[in-house]
Amino acid sequence: MTGFLPGDIVLISGTGILEFLTIFILAIFVGNEVVSRVPSILHTPLMSGSNAIHGIVLVGAMIIMGNATGAAQIVLGFLAVLLATLNIVGGFTVTDRMLEMFKAKPADNASRSKSKDSDAEGGAK
C-alpha cells in the first residue's frame, strides 16, 4: 500500500464515485418505498426512528477522530463524536420509549378497531 502515490489513490476513489452514486440513487428508491404506506399514528415514531438511524454518522465521526492530527482537528473530531453519540443514543432511546407505550396496550396489535362493532367499545368498561 505504501507504494502508492497520493495521486494514484485518488484515482482509485475516482473509479468508486460511480459505484457510490449508484448506491445513492438506489437508496433513494428504497427509502421512498419503505415508508410509502405509513398510518398517521406512526408518523411521529417513524420520524424519531429515522432520526436515530442517521446517528450512524458516528461511524464517520470516529474515522475522522482516529485520523485527526493537530489541536484543531482533534477538538473538532472530539466534538463530532460527541454530537453524533448524542444523536444515535438519544434517538434510539427516545424512539423505544415512544413505541413501548404503544406496545403496552393489549388492543394495539394489527386488528385496528375498524373490524369491531363500535357499540361494544364504549359503554361496557
Binding site: 468508486g16 437508496a27 415508508v35 450512524i56 458516528l58 465521526a61 482516529g66 485527526a68 484543531a72 432511546t93
Partner: protein, 487 residues
C-alpha cells in the same frame, strides 16, 4: 508528517477490509428492514431495536477498522471513547425522563446535533486536505471537495434550523411566525451568497472561505426557520431530519463509506416523503408550509365574513357542562394542541373514566395532526394509559359524530373548524376535519378567544349549540371531573 499524510490519503481513497465492509453492509440492510418495520404498528418496536443493534455492531467494528487508525493513534482512541461515554451519559437520562409532550423538541435537538456532526466531519476533512496539500500532496478531486462542502452546507442548515425549531417548541422564543419586509428576497440572496462562497472555496482551497461558507449556512438555517409558525414546526423538523440524512450521505461520499451513504440516503428520501405526508394531513402543500408564513399573513387578511371579536359567544360554568356530560349517552372527546401544552392528558382520561363509570359511551376522536406532531396525540394518550380501542382516527370517528350528544373539544380549534368544509376561500379549505359541528352539543375548552394556529375565526365557536369554558385545559378538565362527580 509525511507518514501521516500517506495514511490519511490512503484512508480516503481505499476502503476497509472486506469483512468490515460486509458488517457495514449488513448494518445497512438492517436499517432498511428496521425502517420498514417502523412503518407498521406491529413491527415498529422490533424495527427500532433491530436498527439499534445494527448501529452498535457497526460502531464496534469501527474501533478495529484500519481506516480509523485507532491502533496507531491511541490518544485519539481514548478521546473518542471519552466523547462517546460523555454523549451516552448525557443522552440516555434526557431521553428517558423527558416529558412526552416535550418530545418533539428533543427529536429536534437530536436531529440538529447529527447535522452538526456531519458538518464537523466535512470541516475536519477539509482542514486535513488543506494541510496535506500545503505539504505537497495532490489536491483532492473537484467532486471530492464538492461532496465535503455539500455535507458542510446541509449539516449547518440542519444544525441551526433545528436549534431555532427547538427554541420555538420550548417557548424560549415566540412560536408565532417572525416576518419582516423582503424576507424571501433576503433568504434567496443568502442562498446565492452561500453557493458563491462554496464555489470560491472549491477553487481556492481557502480555509477562511470554507469557514465563511459554514457561518453563512448557519445563518441560512436560522432565517429559513424564523417565518415558520409553531404549528408547522413539526413538519419542519421532519424536513430538517431529512436534511441531516442527506448531510450524512454526503459524509459517506467524503469518507467512501457505504453504510453512511445508504443510511443517510434512506433517511433523506423517506424523510422528504414523510414530510409531504404530514403537510398533506394538514391539507396543505409543503411549499405552503415553508414559505407562506401562514399565521401572520392570514390573520391580517382573514375574517372573510366579519371580525369575530365583536360577536357574542356563549360561555358556561363547569357545573352546567358537568351535568350535560353526566347525562349524555355518547360523548366524543376531541383533543388538540392545547391539551398537549397543558399536559392535560391524564385529567382527560380521568374525566373519560368517570363518565364511563356512569355508563356514558366515550371515545376520543384523533385528528391526524392533533398535538405537536402527527401521531403525537396517540403517544400522549397512550402515556396516560388510555386504552387503544378508545382512540378513533378521524375517518372512523366522523360517521359517529351525528349521533353524539356532546363533542368535547379540548384545546383544539383548526381541526374542527367547519370553514375547512364550507368556506372555499378559507386558507384551511379542503383540510380534513373532525365533524364536531354534527354533534348535538359542542363544548370548547379554550384558553382564550385567540384563533388557532391557522389564525382564522372558527364559526363553530359562535354556533348556538356551542358552549365555551375558558381556562387552562388541565384546570377546566379538573373542574369538570368535580362537577361530573357531583352531578
Amino acid at each position: 508528517m509525511s507518514h501521516a499524510s500517506a495514511t490519511l490519503v490512503l484512508t480516503r481513497g481505499t476502503s476497509a477490509p472486506v469483512w468490515i465492509d460486509l458488517v457495514y453492509l449488513a448494518a445497512a440492510v438492517a436499517f432498511i428492514v428496521a425502517l420498514k418495520g417502523l412503518s407498521s404498528p406491529k413491527q415498529a418496536r422490533n424495527g427500532n431495536l433491530l436498527a439499534a443493534a445494527a448501529a452498535v455492531v457497526a460502531v464496534a467494528v469501527t474501533f478495529v477498522n484500519p481506516a480509523a487508525h485507532f491502533s496507531s493513534h491511541t490518544t485519539n482512541l481514548v478521546l473518542a471513547i471519552v466523547a462517546m461515554v460523555l454523549g451516552a451519559v448525557i443522552a440516555v437520562p434526557v431521553a428517558r425522563t423527558v416529558k412526552m409532550t416535550a418530545m418533539p423538541q428533543l427529536v429536534a435537538i437530536f436531529n440538529g446535533v447529527g447535522g452538526g456532526a456531519a458538518a464537523l466531519i466535512s470541516i475536519v476533512v477539509f482542514l486535513s486536505d488543506a494541510h496535506l496539500h500545503s505539504l505537497g500532496a495532490a489536491k483532492p478531486a473537484v467532486y471530492a471537495i464538492s461532496e465535503g462542502l455539500l455535507g458542510l452546507l446541509i449539516g449547518c442548515v440542519s444544525f441551526s434550523g433545528s436549534a431555532i425549531a427547538f427554541a420555538k417548541l420550548q417557548e424560549l422564543m415566540t412560536g408565532r411566525p417572525i416576518t419582516y419586509p423582503g424576507q424571501q428576497v433576503i433568504n434567496a440572496l443568502v442562498g446565492v451568497a452561500i453557493v458563491a462562497l462554496a464555489v470560491a472555496t472549491l477553487l481556492t482551497d481557502s480555509v477562511p472561505l470554507m469557514i465563511a461558507t459554514a457561518v453563512l449556512s448557519l445563518v441560512l438555517g436560522i432565517i429559513f426557520v424564523l417565518p415558520i409558525g409553531g404549528a408547522d414546526v413539526p413538519v419542519l423538523i421532519s424536513l430538517l431530519n431529512s436534511f441531516t440524512g442527506l448531510a450524512v450521505a454526503a459524509s459517506g461520499f467524503t469518507l467512501n463509506n457505504n453504510l453512511l451513504i445508504i443510511a443517510g440516503t434512506l433517511v433523506g428520501a423517506s424523510g422528504i416523503l414523510l414530510t409531504r405526508m404530514m403537510s398533506k394531513a394538514m391539507g396543505r402543500s409543503l411549499a405552503n408550509v415553508l414559505f407562506s408564513a401562514f399565521g401572520s399573513v392570514v390573520t391580517a387578511g382573514g375574517g372573510a365574513d366579519g371580525t369575530g371579536e365583536t360577536r357574542q359567544v356563549k360561555t358556561g360554568t363547569p357545573e352546567d357542562i358537568g351535568v350535560l356530560l353526566a347525562y349524555a349517552r355518547k360523548v366524543v372527546i376531541i383533543p388538540g394542541y392545547g391539551l398537549a401544552v397543558a399536559q392535560a392528558q391524564h385529567t382527560a382520561r380521568e374525566l373519560a373514566d368517570l363518565l364511563m363509570e356512569r355508563g356514558v359511551e366515550v371515545f376520543y376522536a384523533i385528528h391526524p395532526v392533533a398535538g405537536r406532531m402527527p401521531g403525537h396525540m396517540n403517544v400522549l394518550l397512550a402515556e396516560a394509559n388510555v386504552p387503544y380501542d378508545e382512540l378513533k382516527e378521524m375517518d372512523e370517528a366522523n360517521p359517529e359524530m351525528s349521533t353524539a350528544d356532546v363533542a368535547l373539544v379540548v384545546g383544539a380549534n383548526d381541526t374542527v373548524n367547519p370553514a375547512a368544509k364550507n368556506t372555499p376561500g378559507s386558507p384551511i379549505y379542503g383540510m380534513p376535519i373532525i365533524n364536531a359541528d354534527e354533534a348535538a352539543n359542542v363544548i370548547f375548552l379554550k384558553r382564550s378567544m385567540r384563533p388557532g394556529f391557522a389564525g382564522i375565526d372558527n364559526e363553530l365557536l359562535f354556533d348556538e349549540k356551542t358552549t365555551l369554558l375558558f381556562g387552562d385545559a388541565k384546570d377546566t378538565l379538573a373542574k369538570l371531573v368535580t362537577a361530573v362527580g357531583e352531578a
